[in-house]
Amino acid sequence: MSKGNTPSTQTRRPDRAALVIAVFLAALAGLIFWDTSRLAQITSYSGIGPATIPFVIASVLLLLAAWTVFEALRGDFPARERQEFGPVIWIIGGLAAQMLTLKPLGFSIATGLLFAATAAGFGKRKLWFTIPIGIVLCLGVWLVFAGLLQLSLPAGPLEHLFW
């Protein structure tokens, strides 16, 4: 969705990333129209049914898309900072790893991986060091919040050693 790699635009020329945003808004509006149109015939005593407000929202989104195109063509969008994508991928990867390993491996290992990946995103790439640190830290957190305070955090092999 993000076309953030566009270099800073100081000059006033059509902003292609902004055009992509307009397309996204229009697509969102289309999705709302498509999904809620099947509810259009349901009305109640109010005269507005479950589809009315979504139709209004979708229509405004279309207007906003048009407005975005207009501003994009005039180059009215603010200048953007240069984005480095390496760190972003590290963090997104960490979140995905946590999501996938949470149930099978438990809270500590899954979140420990996220911890290490985030640290890597910010420049600490020594995974042999950060993964164990993250797991130990998360285990401590797990013991406090799940053990003592009864929060239900998924337990895995590591947690079962303690509880």
Partner: protein, 505 residues
């Protein structure tokens, strides 16, 4: 016995050393759990309620009050320091509070939040004690059409969080509305925008969206700046404590926040976050330093925090006088009260005065303990910001996901967290403000439901929306709030606005 005698007696019981200790434990536990992003006061109280069962009724009641206030306050700490609102009522706090923290003014921000919460809690609890029956009559005047008018007013005030571009502010708001459609329609039970995915039937959890957009979006954005990004966050610049000027700018905001938050909290469908929106907008309008808003204005922290806490006490008005639990937190408190043989309802004050006044005294004491616990900790909290970035952000993501997992341990929820985190990041790149998305998700469904209820009751007659005096007054205020700034903007076009550009995140 008179009201005062009862209150005095309650205070004497609550102020015994053992009970003070219970209050302190309650506040500490409540803060510890409430500080997790995504875990609001409702879940905090639900989790910790069993802890109180082991005590005698007096001690149990007071620890319960402590947990409640601790849970309420916990959310603002992470909002200010880490730009990660713990729950929907502290989203506004993050707007100015985090800007202050980044300029090394985290100490005063935390202090004004703590003292403001204390002041608001104190006044509102006294309000609960003395004017509850009156306030509740006022609250019952509010039917669907009055609520709809209140929502319209709230929408208008949201525009103060729009930042420099109307287009981008509106776009953010409508993305929030679009997300709000997802789920089962309250009034007809029909699924909208769920595409057969059962996890979407209940819509998008506000806390999930807020945590994702703020905490994860922010972390991604900072990480993407790489080495060239603003490396140093100055933890402390100047005093950790509030200066004389901070006090001067805060106290009126506390009082106004209380005045706004208490009645709105007392309304059965008011909700704490609406009070914070209105308070923020009010402070921005009335401030002598409007140019500081968006860059760390202390009033923008003081007012909403006071409103938040005052509305928490306001929630107790319908709960105690009508037996009406109007929020999830109140519903859990109701369960807690039943444990002490307290049956809230219109007869409560007459049949069970000792317990009611004992509770109110406990709330006052707990509120005081909150201040005792948190003011000395301000210095320590601020040190959090001196942690090197890799560890700090790794920790933020650890606690952000911990909160989400604790509230609902589902893989799908984590997936949404990731998706909205990426959306929040993309929006930051292009200078879209984040807060309106969350606000749209909160207010959109409320406004739609109240409108449809009002029209169903009137059988489709639109004029009812304007014929109630309360609704009419609210709509007039909303219209004024919308039009006046437009005129001012048209006159003073230019310089100030362009200077503010591209700084809203």
């Amino acid at each position: 016995m008179t009201t005062f005698d009862f209150l005095l007696q309650g205070m004497l019981v609550a102020a015994q050393p053992m009970n003070l200790l219970y209050a302190l434990i309650g506040v500490t536990l409540g803060t510890a759990v409430g500080v997790l992003p995504g875990i609001g006061p409702a879940l905090t109280v639900a989790l910790l309620l069993p802890v109180t069962y082991r005590l005698d009724p007096g001690g149990s009641l007071i620890m319960f009050a402590g947990i409640y206030y601790g849970g309420m306050y916990g959310g603002s700490t992470t909002s200010i320091l880490l730009n990660t609102p713990g729950e929907s009522a502290s989203i506004v706090t993050a707007l100015e509070g985090n800007k202050m923290a980044r300029k090394g003014r985290g100490g005063p921000a935390l202090a004004t939040a703590a003292i403001g919460s204390f002041v608001a809690g104190l006044i509102a609890t006294l309000g609960l004690a003395f004017i509850a029956p009156f306030v509740v009559k006022l609250a019952l005047v509010f039917g669907p059409r009055e609520y709809f008018a209140l929502m319209v007013l709230a929408f208008v005030t949201v525009s103060s969080a729009f930042g420099d571009s109307t287009l981008r502010g509106l776009t953010s708001l409508f993305i929030g509305f679009a997300l709000a459609i997802i789920g089962i329609d309250q009034l007809t039970g029909q699924a909208r925008m769920s595409f057969g995915v059962p996890d979407l039937l209940d819509g998008i959890e506000v806390t999930t969206l807020a945590v994702a957009m703020f905490a994860i979006g922010e972390s991604l954005y900072i990480a993407a700046q790489g080495e060239q990004g603003p490396d140093k966050v100055e933890a402390v610049k100047g005093s950790v404590w509030m200066t004389a000027q901070d006090w001067a700018r805060s106290w009126k905001a506390w009082l106004r926040g209380t005045a706004i938050g208490f009645p709105i909290g007392a309304m059965p469908a008011g909700g704490a976050e609406i009070g914070t929106f209105l308070s923020y907008a009010t402070e921005k309008r009335l401030s002598k330093h409007p140019e500081e808003f968006g860059h760390g204005a202390i009033e923008g922290v003081a007012g909403p925090e006071a409103a938040n806490n005052a509305s928490a006490a306001g929630t107790l008005v319908p709960l105690l006088t009508l037996g009406l639990p109007t929020t999830a937190t109140a519903a859990i408190m109701l369960a807690g009260f039943q444990q002490y043989g307290l049956q809230p309802g219109p007869l409560l004050f007459a049949t069970n005065p000792q317990l009611v006044w004992g509770l109110i005294a406990s709330l006052l004491i707990a509120n005081f303990m909150l201040l005792v616990l948190n003011l000395p900790l301000v210095g320590l909290w601020v040190k959090l910001l001196t942690i090197p970035k890799p560890w700090l952000y790794a920790g933020i993501l650890l606690f952000a996901t911990l909160g989400t997992i604790g509230a609902n341990p589902s893989v799908f929820e984590l997936g949404m967290l990731l998706a909205f985190g990426v959306l929040g990041y993309a929006m930051r790149i292009f200078g879209y403000p984040i807060a309106p998305v969350v606000v749209g998700l909160i207010l959109g469904p409320l406004a739609e439901q109240q409108l449809r209820r009002a029209l169903a009751i009137s059988q489709g007659d639109v004029t009812v929306l304007f014929t109630s005096p309360v609704a009419a007054v609210l709509l007039v205020i909303a219209a004024a709030a919308l039009i006046v700034p437009l005129i001012l903007r048209a006159r003073g076009r230019g310089q100030v606005l362009s200077q503010l550009a591209a700084n809203e995140d």
